[in-house]
């Protein structure tokens, strides 16, 4: 015999802790005389215990940074764009200009030992050939998911160029060191999708980057002879290493 809806409602209310004293007394009286009602109460209680035993899932650690980065208020636009702004409205020109600014910044920061290694022999050829990292072949990538920094770093290849493509977010300032032991690799340039916000300095066998917020930038390495190499990445917050990763490049047979 089916249980009256009035009692199924009371059974649910009892399990959910939403039953009044009077209704509880009525339910208890009903259950004491109705085995089917008792079975239903027991089954539903058991089901709810299982549901309540499910542990809540933890959101990805970087999610909060990503959301906060995406709700930045937009920068105020100039009331009347000048000729330069008009020219830079074209995406290709804008990217080239940003890249040139990045190279200029790099030149001003790079240490002298790199210059003696002729690291910039081919800088002028960079714009237009590798300025769009999307066209470069993806070799390898690593994900970073720490509370201090999160995102991805990809290693791409275009001819004799290796490109480290950083897409990261961090709430506080972090430092990233990309080290490469292969002596035939030279630091060869830097570009970023924002006009500021990332610092870069290079020495023999390493590039050091500083950033905060959500940043997308690329480090260009000249790989003489397209040889096998490993790029070791260290992410530091307050001088402490918070994450380490490696990206391997194996030339095609």
């Amino acid at each position: 015999m089916a249980i009256e809806q009035k009692y199924t409602d009371l059974i649910n209310a009892d399990i959910d802790g939403e039953i009044s004293d009077d209704d509880k007394a009525a339910l208890d009286a009903f259950l004491s005389e109705n085995a089917e009602g008792r079975a239903l109460h027991s089954e539903l209680s058991s089901l709810c215990t299982s549901l309540d035993a499910v542990e809540p899932a933890e959101p990805p650690r970087h999610l909060r940074h990503v959301i906060m980065s995406s709700v930045n208020p937009p920068s105020p636009e100039p009331a009347t764009p000048g000729m330069l702004q008009g020219l830079l409205a074209a995406p290709a020109l804008r990217y080239a200009a940003i890249f040139a600014a990045g190279v200029f910044l790099t030149l001003s920061l790079v240490s002298s030992d790199q210059i003696f290694n002729h690291a910039f022999d081919d800088v002028t050829g960079l714009v237009g050939s590798i300025a769009d990292p999307v066209n470069a072949e993806l070799v390898n990538s690593v994900s970073v998911d720490e509370s201090q920094v999160a995102g991805t770093v990809s290693l791409r290849r275009s001819g004799t160029m290796l490109i480290l493509d950083f897409d990261l977010a961090s709430a506080d300032p972090i430092e990233i060191e990309a080290g490469y032991t292969n002596p035939s690799i030279w630091f060869n340039g830097f570009a970023q999708l924002e006009s500021n916000g990332t610092s870069v300095s290079a020495g023999t066998g390493r590039v050091t980057l500083g950033m905060q917020g959500k940043r997308r930038y690329a480090v260009y390495l000249h790989n003489e002879g397209g040889r096998q190499t490993t790029v070791n990445l260290q992410f530091k917050a307050d001088g402490e290493i918070v994450h380490e990763a490696s990206l391997d490049y194996e030339p095609a047979e």
Partner: protein, 179 residues
């Protein structure tokens, strides 16, 4: 967090205070992510929906009705976005969970990961309307009246939908040998 606290934070958000928005994010990130995850059964989709929900909240503070509680607004957006996502990703067909005989007797204790997996699989076999009330009741801890406010349906309907949802879920779990 009380309604007054939320209202104050929202006022600050409307005035462009990102810190206030971050406080709301810290408070609601986990329940929003969990609701989306239980609705969609995918961490990646839940992450994307969570991001969309907070962006919508940020962009629509001026449409927020202060007479309603903030959580009922954000949970409603979350459930709507999750249902939209289900439609977009062609997952409207409930997934059929196959009964697996793993040799465990019903009296054997199952660990929490196993419970979670079985419950989630069973949850995905029931219609989104029913899943919604289960998510609100058991994963977000809402009362009948709060569910009624979030879904904008009478409390009586909440009770009947919850009862039906539980019966369906019980049947689905029975096939897994868990109940």
């Amino acid at each position: 967090m009380t309604k007054t606290d939320d209202t104050k934070l929202i006022e600050r958000c409307i005035n462009g205070d990102r810190k206030a928005f971050e406080t709301l994010l810290v408070q609601y990130e986990k329940p929003v992510f969990n609701a989306a995850y239980r609705m969609l059964n995918s961490r990646d989709d839940a992450r994307d929906v969570t991001q969309t929900v907070f962006l919508k909240v940020f962009e629509n503070f001026d449409h927020y009705d202060p007479s309603r509680r903030f959580f009922s607004w954000i949970y409603r957006i979350t459930l709507n976005e999750s249902i939209n996502w289900l439609g977009k990703s062609s997952r409207l067909e409930p997934l059929q969970h196959e009964a697996v005989d793993d040799g465990k007797g019903p009296e054997q204790e199952v660990d929490s990961a196993n419970i979670s997996e079985n419950v989630q699989a069973a949850l995905m076999t029931i219609k989104a309307d029913y899943r919604t009330v289960i998510v609100l009741k058991h994963f977000l801890g809402c009362s009948y009246i709060e569910i009624s406010e979030i879904l904008e349906i009478p409390e009586k309907k909440v009770k009947s939908r919850l009862y039906s949802a539980r019966q369906l879920l019980k049947d689905a779990l029975t096939t897994t040998g868990m109940h």
